[in-house]
Symmetry: C2
Subunit: 267 residues, 2 copies
């Protein structure tokens, strides 16, 4: 990620999470491997949420969905989704109950886990392609905004598309678009280039999530669909119970980032 | 399709189905528009079946999934899935109950409809690309085979990948692959070229579904994932109740065939 962080093998990092020895952010900790947002819902809501993801592949690219009760994903044999993330948030009726490092005490055979792609894979590719990502260089979170575009609703799940913004030099916009378009499993190509207003974003300096990132002369703001979208939608639907990863504390899979390209996923 | 059949607008063809005036096969009846396989299941099984489709996008490319009880798909405003196909098959416990042209008497708010892409879209593109499709020229059904490759199971749904086979002149295999790869919403690129044995197919002259199609000198058999796969899987799971389209009698949507390309579907 351009970030000289210590690198771990995915299984090594997951074991450190499980033992409690690693509870930090996962960005840049296992370059080359797909990281994923986690959402855990009661089975009763699983069909509608899966349908929501299917209808909104740009903000909700599915890495894997597990059958109710299962905790070991195929994308990481030997892993346990209840212990192998650095942190979790537990919600009841849409309200945060607690932030924990282990959700085994909450587990039941009724719970259904969704792993949803995040932007770390394509950010690695952008950096390799020679594109500077200011939020990484400044050590900030990415700037994220709620737009005035609605996702396709599915049953009780509905809400606005959330986007992340990266300032890109105008001469590199086509390159950044081409690189990210090759990662449909990680949000893919930008949803918009250039005009925040056309997405209903009034003030780039005041993101709805994350930190503001300055835009310099000769740069344009480029917007990508963001994995915060499904999280926001789940929380706003005020399910009686749900669990998500804690911000920035993703699940690190054994999948190579290159394998997020759509075609390589299929049979 | 190279077949000089009378052409209908999709809404016109659906209205003729609804009134009972059209009860034939839909291949070649509305060139340029996406046709889809239909599977209707009780809500109880909808999550696992959607998961099955999500895990097996090559044989099960989703065109649209409707919320339980809904009958008007977004891909065809004004349509009614209960009346607008030329024919349906109704099953109980995996056994055929009857073949009908109207399923309103079976309808309930519990039923969930899945529209799954079929090969007609990419066959049109192959023909436009100058590739002769012998089964069309002979007026036969396509030859289909159960393979020894298992689909990724999901809950109770599991079964073999079913493929369709088209004989392609050896000099056109790359072209046929490139053309169909552009249609991920319609099964996409071939899953195999050349060796039936590598898919566990013993005798090309004895297809498991459809009609045998001869392979001439200078041609190789090319195999694509087939929409019969999800149908076979649903029937073998012996659900207490389900409905499918009758063979060859697809749902004709308002979507342009060109729009089956993956990228154009998203936000």
């Amino acid at each position: 990620m351009g970030d000289p962080r210590k690198q771990y093998r995915p299984d090594e990092l997951r074991a450190l999470c499980r033992s409690g020895a690693f509870s930090g952010q996962t960005a840049g900790a296992a370059d080359g491997f797909v990281q994923a947002n986690l959402a855990i819902l009661p089975r009763e809501f699983a069909f509608e949420f899966l349908l929501f993801c299917q209808r909104n592949p740009r903000p909700c690219p599915l890495v894997e969905v597990l059958e109710p009760g299962l905790t070991e994903p195929k994308c990481a044999p030997g892993a346990d989704l209840r212990t192998d993330l650095p942190g979790y948030r537990v919600f009841r009726d849409g309200a945060l109950v607690e932030e924990v490092v282990d959700i085994r005490k909450y587990w039941s055979g009724d719970l259904t886990s969704f792993l949803i792609g995040c932007s770390f894979s394509f950010e690695e590719a952008l950096v390799r392609g020679g594109i500077h990502l200011r939020h990484l260089e400044l050590g900030r979170n990415i700037a994220m905004y709620r737009t005035d575009r609605s996702c396709e609703p599915a049953g009780r799940f509905h809400g606005p598309l959330v986007v992340s913004m990266r300032p890109i030099p105008v001469g590199q916009v086509a390159l950044a678009t081409a690189i990210t378009a090759a990662f449909p499993g990680s949000h893919g190509a930008p949803v918009h280039v250039g005009d925040p207003g056309s997405l209903g974003i009034v003030n780039l300096a005041a993101p709805d999530y994350g930190d503001p990132v300055p835009i310099l002369d000769g740069e344009v703001p480029v917007f990508w669909a963001c994995g915060v979208t499904p999280q926001a939608v789940v929380l706003e639907s005020k399910l009686p119970f749900c669990i998500t990863h804690a911000p920035g504390k993703m699940f690190v899979s054994d999948l190579s980032s290159a394998a997020t390209e759509g075609a390589s996923r299929s049979l």
